[in-house]
C-alpha cells in the first residue's frame, strides 16, 4: 500500500476517536476537556454541513428555474420562500413574529395535512391489498394491521366485552412481544454495526474521510 497524506488523516481520526472513547472510561479532566473540545468542533462542522445542504438545495432549484424545466414554478416559489425565511431569520432571528407566523400558518398545517393523507393512503392500500396481491405475506400483514387497529381504537359498542378485552390483549402481545422482539433484534444489529464501524474507523481500516 502506498503511503500518502491519508496517514495523517488516519492518525488524526484515530486519535480523536480514542480520546472521545477514553472519556467514557476515565473521568479525567484532561480527557473530558479534550473530549468536549473535539465534540464542539464536530458540532461546528455539522452546522457547516447544514449550510452546505442549504446551498445545494438552492442551487438545484435555481438550475431548474434557469432551464425552465418541468415544475420550475414550484422551484421558484421554494427559492422565494427560502430567501424570505433566511433573510428574516438572519435579520430578526428565528423567533421573529413573522417567521413564527409563517411557521404556524404555513409549515405546520402543510405537514400535518400530508401526514393525514398518509392515513388515507394506508387505508386505501389495505383495501386494495387482497385484490392486488394474494399471498401469505399480504395476508399476515393485513391481519396484523387489522388486529392492531382493532385493539387500539375504541369500539363503538361492546368496549367492555370479553372480545374487546381479548383483542386488546392480542394487540398488546403483538406490540410488546412480537414487535418488541423484532425491535430488539434490529437494535442489536444496529449496535453491532455501530461497534464495527467505530472500530474500523479507529483502526483506520475504514477511512470515510478519504485517502
Amino acid at each position: 500500500m502506498k503511503l500518502g497524506a491519508y496517514v495523517i488523516w488516519a492518525a488524526v481520526a484515530t486519535a480523536t476517536g480514542l480520546f472521545v472513547l477514553l472519556g467514557y472510561f476515565f473521568q479525567l479532566d484532561l480527557l473530558l476537556g479534550l473530549r468536549l473540545l473535539l465534540i464542539q468542533w464536530a458540532v461546528l462542522l455539522a452546522a457547516g454541513a447544514l449550510f452546505l445542504g442549504l446551498y445545494n438545495l438552492l442551487s438545484v432549484h435555481w438550475t431548474k428555474v434557469s432551464l425552465q424545466e418541468g415544475g420550475w414554478p414550484y422551484s421558484a416559489l421554494l427559492i422565494l420562500m427560502f430567501l424570505v425565511t433566511l433573510v428574516l431569520g438572519l435579520l430578526f432571528g428565528p423567533d421573529y413574529q413573522a417567521v413564527m407566523l409563517l411557521f404556524r400558518y404555513v409549515q405546520l398545517p402543510v405537514e400535518s395535512s400530508l401526514l393525514a393523507l398518509l392515513a388515507v393512503s394506508l387505508t386505501l392500500a389495505g383495501f386494495r391489498m387482497l385484490s392486488r396481491r394474494r399471498d401469505l405475506a399480504s395476508l399476515v400483514f393485513l391481519g396484523a394491521a387489522f388486529l392492531t387497529l382493532l385493539g387500539t381504537a375504541p369500539w363503538p359498542v361492546g368496549a367492555d366485552s370479553s372480545l374487546a378485552l381479548l383483542v386488546g390483549d392480542m394487540r398488546a402481545w403483538m406490540s410488546q412481544v412480537v414487535a418488541a422482539g423484532g425491535a430488539r433484534g434490529i437494535l442489536l444489529g444496529v449496535a453491532l454495526g455501530a461497534i464495527t464501524t467505530g472500530l474500523r474507523v479507529l483502526l483506520a481500516s475504514d477511512r470515510p474521510y478519504g485517502d
Binding site: 464542539q40 413564527m100 392515513a119 375504541p154
Partner: protein
C-alpha cells in the same frame, strides 16, 4: 538429415524409420533389404563390405561356368555352402516376403495426396514440390515426360527407379568386379575428357562413398546433370523425352566436338568395346548378359578407390537397345555402336515402354548419387527385382540346376528366354496399391502441353527452363472456402447476449407508437376511501356522535411515568426535548399534554430544547397553550433554549456541557434581550444535564429517541429520562424501558394512554377531544380494510371459478 520418402504417400520420413509416420506403411521392405543389408539405397560402400553371394546364385553361377568350360577365371563367385535341407536362404527370404504382398496401409487410410486430389481437383499428383537438394531439372526428370499413354506418376516412377537403381548397381558392381580391366578405362589419367570423372574420383577417394546416405550432397549437385544420373532417372522414372538430347548436345559442345558426342562418351565407347569383348569372352557370347547381378566389392570401397560411377558395366549391347537412352547405351559400353545424331527417342512407343522396366537387367548403371541424397525406399514388391534373377536364370540351363519343386513348376515359363520375358509385366502392383493410384480424372486438371508448346520460364530460379510446372493452377485457382476455419465457436451465453443485443437494436429501430391517452378511469375506490375517512373524522367532531367509550383499562406504562412525575423535585427544572416534525404535532401534542399539565400543575419549571429547527416553535405553542390556565410566564416558569444543531454530537455535548452547547435562547423574555438563556435565574443551578429534575423527550421517530437514550443517559446520573412517543415509535424504544438497567424510565405513547393520563389528572384535554374522531377514523379504516379483503377474496374466488 536424410529422409526417406514413403512409397505409399510419398511423404518424407526419418531415415531410420521403419514405418511411415503419416500412413503407417512399411518403409524398409523385407524383400529387398535383409537384416544384413540395412541400407535400402544400397550404398556401394555398404554393399561392398562382403555382402555374401546367395548360395543359389553361386550355385547357378558355378554351374553355368562349368557348362561354358569355365573359361572365365576372373569371375570369382564365392560359393557358399548349400543348405543341406534343400531350402536355400533366398527361398526362405522369398517365402518371408510373400505375405508382404498383401501388406498395405491401414484399412480405410487414404494418403494425403489422394485426399488432396479428391478435395481439389486442380491439384495434380504431378505438382510435386522438389526437394531442397533437387534441382528443378532433376525434379522434372523424376516427374517423367508427359505422356497420355503412360499414366504412371512420379511416385510410381520413383519406385521403379529405386528398384532399378539397386539392381543395376548390383549388377554393375558385379560386372566391374568380373572385368577388372574396366578400371583402367576410368583411370583419371586416361584422358582429359574424363575430368569430371576424375573429380568424382578424387571426391570419392576423400569421402567414404558418394552414394552413402550420410554424404548428403551429390557430387553432381554442383555440376550439370550427369548423363548417368539422368539415364538412371529415365530408366525408372520415364524421363522427359528432351532430356537425352539436351544433355547430349550440351556435353557435345563441351567436349569440343560440336554436334557430336562428348569426348568422354567417345572415349568410353572404345573401351566399351574392349570390355564388351572381354565380357563376351567371359560370358561366352554377345547376347549373354553379365552372369551375376550380385554385388561384389564396390567401387566406392577402399579397394577401388573410385566412385560408383566408375563401375559402369560396359557389357555388350542387346539388339533392342538402340532406341534406349544414351546413358543406358553408354552404360552398356555400346556408345560407339550408335550414331547418336540419328538416335530418335520415341518414348511413347510400346517397345520402349516394354523395355524400360527391363533395362536395368541389361544395362546396369552406376549407383545414382541422387539416390543417396533422396533415399527412396523401393517398393515392397519390385517387379524389376523379381525379374532380375529370372533373366539370370535364363542365361543358364536351368535343367542342370537343382531347383526346388515349386520352382520346377515355373521352370517352363522361366525358360522361354527373351521372348517370354518380354511378355512379363514390368512390375506387379498389388491390387490395393493399384486402387490407390491417382485416377485419370485428376490428370486433366493440369494439362501438360507438348514440349513445343510449353512456355519458357522467364523469371525466378527456373528462368530459361521449358516445361516448368506452373504455380498458377495451384495458387491462383479459386478454392472453395472451408467453412470450418471461419466458423466462430459461440457459447450459449455469448449467443444469448448476442440475441439480447440484437433485440435491443431492433427495438431501437422500431418506432414506438404514440400511446393513446385514453380516459383515465375515475379512481372510485380512492375517492370513496378518502370520503369515508374524512366523514369519519369530521362527523364526531361536528356532531359529537358517535361517542366512543373511554377505555377502562389503563396501560401498564402509565404507572411508572406518573410515579416519576409525582416525585419530581419542584426546585429543579425539567428539560423537555421537542424532537418531532410539525406533521406529528396532532398526535404528540395530545399525548404530551397531560404530562406537561401535570408538571405545570405541580409548579415544576420547564426548559425546552430541540434538535430540529421546527421544534422550538412547536414547544412554544404547546406550552403556551397548555400553560395558559396555569398562568405561566416565559422566563419564569418556562424557558426555551431553542435549536440545538449538530445531531447526536450536539446531544452529547449538551449532555456534558449544556451551557457550551447552546449560547442563546428562543423567544426569551424581553428583559433577557441580548442575553443568553443561561442568564435566566431558572437555569442558574443547571450546569449539566443531571442538574435537571427530569428529561422528557417528545419524539415521533425512533432515531431521535435512541439518540437521547444513548448519548444523554451517561450524563444524566439519577435524573430520569422519559419518552413521549408516537404510537409507531414505541416498540423500538420499549427495549430501553424494559431492560434490567433501563435507560428510559418512563414511556408515554398513544392516544388511549394520554386519555387515561388525562383522566388521572382529572382534566379533559386534547386527547379527550380527539378521542371520538380518532375512534371513528380507526373504525372506518378497520372496516375498509376488511371490506377490501372480502372484495379481493370474492373476486379471486370468482376468477378461479370462471377459469
Amino acid at each position: 538429415m536424410a529422409e526417406i520418402r514413403c512409397p505409399m504417400c510419398s511423404k518424407p520420413n526419418p531415415e531410420d524409420a521403419d514405418t511411415c509416420s503419416f500412413c503407417g506403411a512399411r518403409l524398409k521392405p523385407l524383400v529387398a533389404d535383409s537384416p544384413e543389408e540395412p541400407s535400402p539405397v544400397g550404398s556401394p560402400q555398404e554393399e561392398g563390405q562382403g555382402e555374401p553371394v546367395p548360395d543359389w546364385l553361386a550355385r547357378v553361377r558355378s554351374k553355368a561356368e562349368a557348362d561354358r568350360g569355365e573359361d572365365d577365371e576372373e569371375t570369382d563367385v564365392p560359393e557358399s555352402a548349400d543348405d543341406e535341407s534343400g531350402s536355400p536362404d533366398w527361398l526362405g527370404r522369398l517365402r518371408q516376403a510373400e505375405p508382404l504382398q498383401d501388406e498395405g496401409p491401414p484399412e480405410g487410410y487414404i494418403p494425403d495426396w489422394l485426399d488432396e486430389s479428391s478435395e481439389d481437383a486442380s491439384a495434380s499428383p504431378e505438382t510435386e514440390v522438389p526437394l531442397e537438394h533437387e534441382t528443378p531439372a532433376e525434379h522434372e526428370a523424376q516427374a517423367g515426360p508427359p505422356s497420355p499413354d503412360r499414366p504412371e506418376t512420379g511416385w510410381l516412377d520413383r519406385l521403379r527407379a529405386e528398384s532399378t537403381s539397386e539392381v543395376t548397381s548390383e549388377e554393375s558392381i558385379d560386372e566391374e568386379d568380373s572385368s577388372a580391366p574396366e578400371q583402367e578405362l576410368f583411370d583419371p589419367g586416361a584422358g582429359d575428357a574424363l575430368d569430371w570423372l576424375g573429380d568424382l574420383e578424387e571426391s570419392a577417394s576423400d569421402e567414404p562413398a558418394p552414394g552413402s546416405a550420410a554424404e548428403g550432397v551429390s557430387p553432381w549437385a554442383d555440376y550439370e546433370t550427369p548423363p548417368e544420373a539422368e539415364g538412371e532417372v529415365s530408366l525408372g522414372g520415364e524421363t522427359q523425352a528432351e532430356a537425352p538430347d539436351d544433355w547430349l548436345s550440351d556435353l557435345g559442345g563441351e567436349g569440343g566436338e560440336p554436334g557430336g558426342l562428348p569426348d568422354w562418351i567417345s572415349e568410353l565407347s572404345e573401351p566399351g568395346e574392349e570390355v564388351g569383348d572381354e565380357a563376351a569372352a567371359s560370358f561366352g557370347g554377345e547376347d549373354e548378359l553379365p552372369a551375376s547381378p550380385e554385388f561384389e566389392p564396390s567401387l566406392g570401397s577402399e579397394e577401388s578407390g573410385l566412385p560408383d560411377l566408375e563401375a559402369e558395366p560396359l557389357g555388350p549391347p542387346g539388339e533392342d537397345a538402340a532406341p534406349l537412352e544414351p546413358s543406358e547405351v553408354i552404360d552398356e559400353g555400346q556408345a560407339g555402336d550408335f550414331d547418336w545424331d540419328e538416335v530418335e527417342f520415341d518414348w511413347d512407343s510400346e517397345e520402349i515402354q516394354d523395355k524400360l522396366p527391363e533395362e536395368p537387367l541389361e544395362a546396369p548403371e552406376p549407383p545414382e548419387p541422387e539416390a543417396a541424397e533422396l533415399p527412396h525406399v523401393p517398393a515392397l514388391i519390385m517387379g524389376d527385382a523379381d525379374d532380375e534373377p529370372k533373366s539370370d536364370v535364363q542365361d543358364f540351363d536351368l535343367s542342370t540346376v537343382e531347383l526346388p519343386d515349386w520352382l520346377s513348376e515355373v521352370r517352363p515359363d522361366a525358360g522361354e528366354g527373351e521372348a517370354g520375358r518380354g511378355d512379363l509385366a514390368p512390375a506387379t502392383i498389388p491390387t490395393w496399391l493399384e486402387a490407390m493410384r491417382p485416377v485419370e480424372t485428376f490428370r486433366p486438371v493440369i494439362d501438360i502441353e507438348p514440349e513445343e508448346e510449353q512456355a519458357v520460364e522467364s523469371v525466378g530460379p527456373l528462368a530459361g527452363l521449358r516445361g516448368v510446372l506452373l504455380a498458377e493452377p495451384v495458387v491462383a485457382k479459386p478454392h472453395t472456402a472451408t467453412t470450418s476455419g471461419a466458423r466462430l465457436e459461440v457459447t450459449e451465453r455469448q449467443f444469448a447476449q448476442a440475441e439480447l443485443l440484437q433485440r435491443i437494436v431492433e427495438q431501437e429501430e422500431h418506432e414506438i407508437p404514440a400511446t393513446v391517452q385514453g380516459k383515465r378511469a375515475w379512481p372510485v375506490a380512492r375517492w370513496l376511501v378518502s370520503l369515508i375517512m374524512l366523514l369519519a373524522v369530521l362527523i364526531p367532531a361536528v356532531a359529537g356522535a358517535p361517542v366512543f367509550p373511554i377505555p377502562q383499562r389503563v396501560s401498564r406504562d402509565l404507572g411508572p411515568l406518573v410515579g416519576i412525575v409525582n416525585t419530581l423535585p419542584t426546585d429543579r427544572p425539567i428539560l423537555m426535548v421537542f424532537d418531532f416534525e410539525p406533521g406529528y404535532s396532532g398526535e404528540l401534542d395530545a399525548v404530551a399534554e397531560p404530562l406537561i399539565e401535570s408538571l405545570l400543575a405541580r409548579g415544576i419549571n420547564i426548559v425546552t430544547v430541540s434538535t430540529r429547527p421546527t421544534g422550538p416553535p412547536l414547544a412554544v405553542d404547546l406550552i403556551d397553550k397548555i400553560g395558559a390556565p396555569y398562568q405561566i410566564e416565559n422566563g419564569r416558569n418556562v424557558l426555551h433554549l431553542g435549536y440545538l444543531s449538530g445531531g447526536p454530537s450536539a446531544v452529547q455535548l449538551f449532555s456534558a456541557a449544556p451551557r457550551e452547547a447552546i449560547l442563546k435562547g428562543f423567544e426569551l423574555p424581553p428583559e433577557m434581550s441580548g442575553q443568553s438563556a443561561w442568564a435566566s435565574p431558572l437555569l442558574s443551578d443547571v450546569h449539566s444535564l443531571s442538574d435537571f429534575g427530569m428529561v422528557a423527550v417528545v419524539a415521533a421517530g425512533t432515531d431521535t429517541a435512541r439518540t437521547w437514550a444513548e448519548q444523554a443517559h451517561p450524563w444524566m446520573g439519577d435524573t430520569p429520562l422519559v419518552m413521549v412517543l408516537s404510537q409507531g415509535a414505541e416498540p423500538l424504544i420499549r427495549p430501553y424501558f424494559e431492560s434490567l438497567t433501563p435507560q428510559v424510565n418512563g414511556i408515554l405513547s398513544g392516544l388511549p394512554t394520554a386519555l387515561a393520563y388525562e383522566q388521572l389528572n382529572g382534566r379533559q384535554g386534547m386527547a379527550f377531544n380527539r378521542w371520538n374522531g380518532f375512534g371513528a377514523g380507526a373504525f372506518a379504516a378497520e372496516w375498509l380494510i376488511l371490506a377490501g379483503a372480502v372484495y379481493g377474496a370474492i373476486t379471486w374466488f370468482m376468477r378461479r371459478r370462471r377459469a
